[in-house]
Amino acid sequence: MIRGGRNWFLKLALAGVCLPAVVRADELPRRLADTGLYVGGGTQVRPDVLPFSPQYPLWSDGAAKRRWIWLPPGTRIDASQPDAWDFPRGTRLWKEFAHGRALETRFIERADDGSWRFGSYVWNAEGTDALLAPATGLRDLPAPNAPGAHYTIPSVDDCRACHEGAPVPVLGFSALQLSPDRDPLAPHAEKVAGAVDLRVLAARGLLRNLSPELLAHPPRIAAADPAERAALGYLHGNCGNCHNDEGPLAVLDLTLAQRVARPSPVLSSIVGVQSQFVPPGAPRDAVRLAPGHLASSVIAARMSSRDPLQQMPPLGTSAVDTEALALVSRWIESFPNHSSN
């Protein structure tokens, strides 16, 4: 795999393709084209930039997404901690958001000092160029095909709010998210041609210290039935980045993140557990998940709200994910029948 990476390096060099410039520590390139995603000045993705597709994607108001990762030639991801992969310095990831046409591409990069930088690029109407958005973001850009016909670019603070809530700020690129044992009921999961998964990464030698057990038995969320698996997976992909037992929100004792390395205390942290947030009009002893009682379950109430004071997730969405809400609601309503109860 290291050899493969070097081959790409050589092929590109022979083809006269400019390799991405090293990004200065204090700023990102002004143009997306200069981040190393594309060949030359066009919008053709470089062959050494790898597409991927997490099995439990984040809901972003129905935006179509494309995702890529690039690792510096000769480097590998340290997978010794399956839930907190250590990415090499220089790793770059992109995520493109589209409603009818591409609107935004988000970019994160690991700098030489180990820190991560975040930026968003805004596409022009022609889809030929994307420029770095201000660090404060851009609110309510016209977007006829988006919910409410507008689209908001997040601020860098908001990027950090989500990405730095997890043990590793790379979200959606993990042993569980890239498991070849994909969940067929996962809402909004996309099949992407050529997307790399855990086995492909291992075969290409882009992982080191990966437990062979994870290849023999790819990660899968333990659940009482397929619907519960999908519901827990959705909560993992959409809520677990912040609500986990290792990050800064561990103080809430609310875990929605699944773990490959050990059992995750998801159910024990929500079922029958009093909610610290009490929605207006709800009883003071409202619980996070009341088995069989959707109306008494704060998780469902917050998923179904887009009141900025109540909604979950609190940012990055202005439209309820009705498909996922239906999935989670059915799970809550049928919960007493589950053996995992």
Binding site: D157, P248, L249, L252, P280, R306, P308, L309, P314, A319
Partner: protein, 192 residues
């Protein structure tokens, strides 16, 4: 609301000027003393310590020091103001504020583990002030909290403030959740 934010920014820019970059880490005692200094000079008590009426007029109720809006004080619906330059209503305790953002209640900053900052870490506190979001990643913190000024505190000053707040008496006081603006309440439960 913009004018209110501007006033808050102007009034508290002095507080932000106390931030000093590059200072070496202080000893624990020094840090707590500096935190107390910053808390008492930056207006934290103004909103987070409820006012009570005394023969001399409103005064901070120091038995509830920095414990936020008293949970026993259930606020009726906020008055609806006519269109015009008056946009804010304030409870006599100075702990509940109504404006175009809805109704906000000042937070319990004492180290009570269930209702205050007792389980918080310095990172939780720093992230909250820096991002202007509850717990650093939740809903936006509402006016009149002067986040635009306070987010300019340097890390040492924020750590000092947090260290001091962890030493004050814990007060068990569950502050209510903020309320949405009246106009937004009806239509915001199923997205848009």
């Amino acid at each position: 609301m913009q004018s209110l934010k501007m006033l808050v920014r102007i009034a508290l820019v002095v507080a932000a000027s106390f931030a000093r970059a590059g200072d070496p880490a202080p000893a624990a005692g020094d840090e707590i003393a500096r935190g107390k200094y910053l808390v008492t000079t930056s207006g934290c008590h103004d909103c987070h310590t409820p006012l009570k009426m005394t023969p001399q007029g409103p005064a901070p109720d120091m038995e509830r020091m920095l414990s936020g809006h008293p949970e026993q004080l259930e606020m009726p619906p906020a008055p609806q103001l006519p269109a015009g330059p008056w946009i804010v209503s304030v409870a006599g305790t100075n702990t509940a504020w109504s404006g175009p953002w809805g109704v906000s209640f000042t937070a319990n900053l004492t180290p009570d583990k269930e209702t205050g900052l007792g389980k918080w870490t310095v990172r939780t506190f720093t992230d909250t002030i820096r991002t202007g979001r509850h717990l650093g990643r939740g809903r936006e913190i509402l006016p009149p909290m002067p986040i635009p000024a306070y987010k300019n505190f340097n890390d040492q000053d924020l750590a000092a403030i947090f260290a001091y707040l962890q030493t004050i008496p814990a007060v068990k006081n569950k502050v209510p959740a903020p309320r949405a603006p009246i106009a937004a309440t009806a239509g915001n439960t199923q997205g848009h």
